[in-house]
């Protein structure tokens, strides 16, 4: 079904793009400001655009273009329309969809932003676009020793890649520290403290591209979860059991040579600056029965702080993670059912839970969420604000006969901004809750009946 929706949406997108393309050149960007934040390994870019319709027909949408190196690392694009001025500013979220263009130069990738109301000729609109890039900081040198700090490259363009003419633009790039080894200078460009400024540039034609490379120090934890499987098991007896299987690596410059414990212990500030040994997971409030373990047993270094709004689990892997080192572990916890399971107006039940990864500031390359519905539930369907791969599986748990339906949601390249609620709807008859207790009771009953029978029946052939 998901595949069909996908095909359908592509079809619609193609149709739309043909109609949209005719008006593509009728827009121009009057003013653009871009702020790129490179302080962690998740690159966040804020784009403020002022778009004007210079054509004759009203334009319903506009395109955002991304170079091919970025489009594959693009985790998320969000757009907001700004209405009102200064203090009365209101932000309205806009619909953003990936799209394809038939004549895209050099494999440029596109996202389509649909305006709230079509932009009439001569009108302007202000937009704020946030896009997030993962795996875009390339460590150089590729291998570092324990005493070195981590230097990375960031590749981008000094001017914004856009299918439209851009009248005026500026780009600000924020680095985590003042240590910048080098940056490509495209006049006017200058660096002050932690900020590099490119621009302002005037009147750049559509699809202008001026590559720049910034080489700077970034010792923030490059925590990359290569694979995360979250299993949410619904028990109508009162709890949600969540089990999270992590495969975590340090995605930064690879560790080379010696690991010295003496240096790591005594000269913590200069030794293993890019390594990390503590992680923070934000868990739901009222969380209980938290455990943290791996294939060979419990890991004893963790602290849990529970609160009303959220709980925080601070934990350490068994060893500090240096570049290229990895660790696998499992975090499990239980939350009360009434906080997350509700009944819809049509009588169906739905689970309302947070998507994404509970770890702070991490990239998840492959996220799988498995919602295990109680035995006997029917017609599951998931509602999410973005597209994910969906499929159904069957899982057998304690005392199951027909197995439990599992809704599997799978998404690649997940960043903390994806931590938004999603819903899984299903129908369930409460009578099924009694099946398992009934089985247990009858099993015990049978045991006693059997022992009664054994005591009273004489199986001897010879009468004593």
């Amino acid at each position: 079904m998901a595949a069909r929706i996908g095909i359908f949406s592509v079809f619609v997108a193609v149709l739309l793009s043909i109609s949209a393309f005719s008006s593509a050149q009728d827009l121009q960007i009057v003013n653009a400001e871009r702020r790129i934040d490179l302080s962690s390994h998740i690159v966040k870019a804020f784009l403020t655009l002022k778009v004007e319709n210079i054509g004759k027909d009203p334009a319903a949408e506009m395109l955002l273009a991304f170079p091919p190196t970025q489009i594959k690392n693009l985790a998320m694009v969000q757009a907001l329309a700004i209405t009102g001025k200064k203090k009365k500013k209101t932000y309205l979220p806009l619909d953003v969809k990936p799209t394809e263009q038939p004549d895209a130069p050099n494999d440029t990738g596109y996202y389509r932003v649909t305006f709230i109301s079509p932009l009439g000729p001569g009108e302007t609109v202000s937009l704020e676009v946030l896009y997030i890039l993962t795996h875009s900081l390339e460590p150089f040198p590729v291998e570092i020793t324990q005493s070195e700090s981590q230097l990375v490259y960031y590749h981008d363009s000094a001017v914004i890649l856009s299918p439209y003419h851009v009248k005026q633009q500026t780009t600000f790039i924020k680095t985590p520290s003042t240590r910048v080894e080098s940056f490509t200078s495209i006049e006017p460009a200058n660096r002050a403290g932690k900020e590099i400024k490119y621009g302002p540039y005037e009147n750049r034609a559509s699809y202008s591209y001026t590559p720049v490379i910034i080489h700077f120090e970034n010792n923030s934890p490059f925590a990359v979860v290569e694979e995360l499987v979250r299993e949410i098991e619904i028990s109508h007896w009162g709890s949600l059991q969540i089990t999270e299987n992590y495969r975590l690596t340090h995605g930064g410059a690879r560790h080379k040579g010696v690991f010295s414990r003496v240096d790591y212990q005594s000269k913590r500030s200069v030794s293993g600056a890019s390594s990390f040994n503590a992680l923070l997971a934000v868990l739901p409030p009222r969380v209980n029965s938290v455990y943290y373990r791996d294939e060979i047993g419990n890991i004893s270094t963790s602290h849990l702080r529970t609160g009303f709004r959220k709980s925080e689990l601070e934990f350490e892997p068994r060893y500090p993670l240096f570049g290229g080192w990895s660790a696998t572990f499992i975090i499990g916890y239980r939350v009360p059912l009434e906080d997350y399971l509700f009944e819809a107006s049509d009588g169906r039940r739905y689970l309302n839970f947070t998507f994404g990864c509970p770890l702070v500031e991490t990239i998840v390359n492959k996220l799988t969420i498995k919602v295990v519905l109680p035995e006997g539930s029917k017609d599951p369907s998931a509602v999410l604000p973005f597209t994910v791969n969906q499929e159904l599986q069957v899982k057998y748990s304690y005392l199951d006969i027909v197995g439990r339906t599992v809704v599997v949601l799978q998404k690649d390249n997940v960043v903390p901004t994806h931590n938004v609620p999603f819903q899984v709807y299903y129908t369930f008859k409460p009578i099924y809750m009694l099946a398992e207790p009934f089985m247990l009771v009858s099993a015990f009953f049978l045991v006693f009946v059997a022992s009664l029978a054994y005591v009273h029946i004489d199986l001897n052939i010879v009468r004593k």
Partner: protein, 738 residues
């Protein structure tokens, strides 16, 4: 004792309530009670056994509560790994498993060199639970296998006690064995070792055999053969059975207790047991060829001679003729047997006794000839204190029990006496064999307790009855009252009996307290995770082993070869999932000696050895920072001895100064520069471990180390755990020749 005294107590209370005004109803209740006495007794017995069953299980769960549900120590990790393999790949794959991850580059044929009983048992439990829709993890099954079988052992102990003495003794035996530290030490949750099921199998075999001897029934003998098969499949200690049972039969023959029952029981058990045991690949034809099993075969043949003689005696009816015949037959039988044994041994068909067997008979043998056996702490001769620690009051009750056994000598009591005495001897030779002696000690002590308490209570009760109700109780009380008339001459008899009873219960309660304390303090530590008390009384956990093994598992190439002392081999393969050079199987002494030689050589020489073994990483265990005393430096002399046993270039005196093992400035130069010293103390000299002590102060040995400036040429530090307990070094590839 409870089962015996309780129902009679309620009975006597019922008799007390017989007052005239409530005569009718009380008469009715008395009658109905009397009808139910047997059932009451049964109910009590079953509930006591049920409670003991549960007690035996939960007493072993301290480690799970203190730490976590995890596998303990060394060998259990191998068993766990093989069980995991068995459940994942199935039995045939398991049976034909060639493991290339251990004993690199030799490998190990796992299916042919292990006792599969434990793994198959755990896998069967696992599969059964899964079939019943209990989706447990195989680790949980493995962790709880030992307590489960300990519970089963208490049941067997009950039946065994019942067989050799009476129900009361059986119940006491069940209680005693349920909490006896000697047994708990090897069967706490997580101690997933062969002994966990083997003690159950051992006791079951003995019980069924004694039952077969008592009844002369083929069915029990068959059962005993299967019990023996299970034991053979589970543990190498089956050799004890196959030697004790023939010895017992021999003793019965000599003492003139030969009977048809014995003949049936032994022959059936031996023949079937032998055929079944030969199905285990690790045993195979050893069962008919090796020296350890020859006694059983000899007794088997002797039995046939006995039977034949019996028949001839019956046929001849002439004592003089029979005497001559007897002389000729016995002489020729012994002659033939001797020649057969001689020829067999000379031609190599019958293998001689192994070193392990010798070391059991002679406590000093291993020390002189097999250092690898002597180096293991659980193979040391037992100290008196550990007997006291593991048996507590049983140590005093044992001789008393022996007295009772000798007083009522039957086939069954002879067996338990022989089992007790032989196993106690072996327990004295090796610490770990306390385990084998424990069931016998518990049973014999149970006889002592049961018999004493029974005598005392019957004394008390008959007096009461005589004074109150007279002779209303029929045969039982008339017997007792005759006893009373006998004992009437002794003054203060009743008070004495009460005092003695109180004493017995005091002793038993002390025993229970001691057992709980020992279990919780001494035997429930997994030894993978170390716990210590901090300065403020808080609990500090040293989880360095798992830290290191997990580091190996995650951050080294999958085909990396790890060299470490053999103690850690099983753990590295199970938790680190990497290939090791040597492990706890210790089947190849030369290979272990090679590692010992590498560890005790200078770095250059060691590097050549490591290159020849394709070693990528070297792992050492070092307790200098934490004060953990069972580390590699303290084990180092054994490495030297084992290495020197095969390679004479390694000489123990080179590492000693005036016969003393030192690591400080006064240590021998060879010691200060050998690989093990360098790896343990590399950059340790820069570290201050204790306030007020110079840097490089080794807390495990309490000295400042002698070589603080250690340079490594061919190795580099790859990882050191947070408390320095495990240090891992990478072996550098050879430098290019210019």
């Amino acid at each position: 004792m409870g089962g015996k005294s309780e129902p009679t107590k309620s009975e006597s209370m019922a008799t007390k309530t017989t007052n005239p005004d409530l005569l009718n109803t009380s008469f009715f209740s008395f009658k109905s009670l009397k009808l139910k006495t047997k059932q009451q007794e049964l109910l009590l017995r079953i509930s006591i056994l049920g409670l003991v069953y549960i007690l035996a299980f939960i007493a072993r769960l301290f480690s799970v509560l203190r730490y976590e549900s995890m596998i303990h120590e060394f060998d259990p990790y191998f068993n766990y790994r093989t069980t995991l393999f068995l459940t994942e790949k199935g039995f045939y794959e398991f049976w034909n498993w060639f493991d290339s991850e251990s004993w690199y580059p030799l490998g190990r044929i796992i299916g042919g060199t292990l006792y599969p009983g434990l793994m198959v048992t755990a896998a069967l439990i696992y599969w059964t639970l899964r079939f019943l829709r209990f989706f447990v993890h195989i680790r949980e099954v493995c962790v709880l296998t030992a307590p489960f079988f300990a519970s089963n052992t208490t049941l067997v102990a009950y039946f065994f006690g019942k067989e050799i003495w009476d129900t009361g003794a059986g119940l006491v035996a069940a209680v005693l064995i349920a909490i006896c530290p000697g047994y708990i030490s090897r069967s706490v949750a997580g101690s997933y070792d062969n002994e966990a099921v083997a003690i159950f199998a051992l006791l079951l075999t003995f019980y069924l055999f004694v039952k077969a001897v008592n009844t002369g029934s083929l069915a029990w003998a068959l059962g005993s053969a299967f019990g023996y098969f299970y034991m053979v499949s589970a543990w190498g200690g089956y050799v004890f059975i196959i030697n004790l049972v023939p010895l017992y039969v021999l003793v019965l023959l000599i003492t003139g207790r030969y009977s048809m029952r014995l003949y049936i029981a032994y022959n059936c058990m031996y023949i079937l047991g032998m055929l079944l045991a030969m199905q285990i690949r690790f045993v195979g034809f050893q069962h008919v060829q090796s020296g350890e099993h020859m006694g059983a075969m000899g007794v088997f043949l002797l039995m046939q001679v006995f039977y034949f003689l019996d028949w001839v005696k019956y046929q001849l009816n002439d004592t003089k003729l029979f005497q001559t015949f007897l002389r000729i037959t016995v002489t020729s039988a012994i002659l033939v047997g001797g020649i057969a044994l001689g020829v067999g041994t000379a031609s190599g068909y019958i293998s001689p006794w192994t070193g392990r067997f010798y070391s059991l008979l002679d406590p000093t043998y291993a020390k002189d000839h097999i250092p690898i056996i002597a180096s293991v702490s659980e193979h040391q001769p037992t100290a008196w204190s550990s007997f006291m620690f593991d048996y507590h009051i049983l140590l005093f009750l044992f001789p008393a029990g022996l007295y009772f056994c000798f007083k009522r000598l039957t086939d069954a009591t002879i067996f338990i006496v022989m089992y007790g005495l032989t196993s106690l001897y072996f327990a004295g030779v090796m610490v770990r064999l306390i385990l084998v002696a424990t069931p016998a000690v518990c049973l014999i002590s149970a006889i002592a307790v049961s018999a004493t308490v029974k005598n005392l209570t019957s004394l008390l009760r008959t007096k009461q009855k005589v004074s109150q109700t007279g002779s209303t109780k029929g045969a039982g009380s008339s017997k007792a009252s005759s006893k009373v008339t006998l004992d009437q001459s002794q003054p203060f008899q009743k008070n004495g009996a009460i005092a003695l009873l109180v004493g017995v219960f005091y002793l038993l309660s002390r025993y229970a307290i001691h057992c709980t304390w020992v279990t919780s303090e001494a035997y429930s530590s997994p030894s993978i995770v170390l716990a210590a008390r901090g300065a403020h009384g808080n609990r500090i956990i040293f989880d360095d082993y798992r830290e290191a093994y997990y580091w190996l598992r995650q951050n080294t190439p999958t085909d990396a070869k790890i060299m470490s002392w053999w103690d850690y081999g099983y753990q590295i393969t199970a938790m680190g999932n990497r290939t090791v050079i040597v492990d706890n199987n210790t089947w190849n002494n030369t290979h272990i000696a090679t590692v010992g030689r590498a560890m005790s050589s200078y770095e250059d020489e060691a590097y050549d050895i490591m290159r020849s073994l394709d070693v990528n990483y070297v792992l050492v265990v070092f307790g200098g920072v934490t004060g953990y005393s069972s580390d590699d430096i303290n084990k180092f002399l054994w490495m030297v001895r084992i290495g020197g046993g095969v390679f004479p270039v390694i000489k123990e005196p080179d590492y000693l100064v005036n016969g003393e093992f030192r690591v400080d400035k006064g240590a021998s130069p060879k010691m200060l520069n050998c690989l093990m010293y360098k790896l343990c103390y590399y950059r340790f000299g820069e570290l201050t471990t204790e306030y007020g002590k110079p840097p490089g102060y080794d807390r495990a040995r309490g000295v400042e180390i002698g070589n603080k400036d250690i340079k490594l040429e061919h190795l580099e530090e790859a990882y050191t755990t947070s408390n320095w307990i495990v240090r891992i070094y990478r072996v550098k590839p050879p430098t290019n020749r210019l």
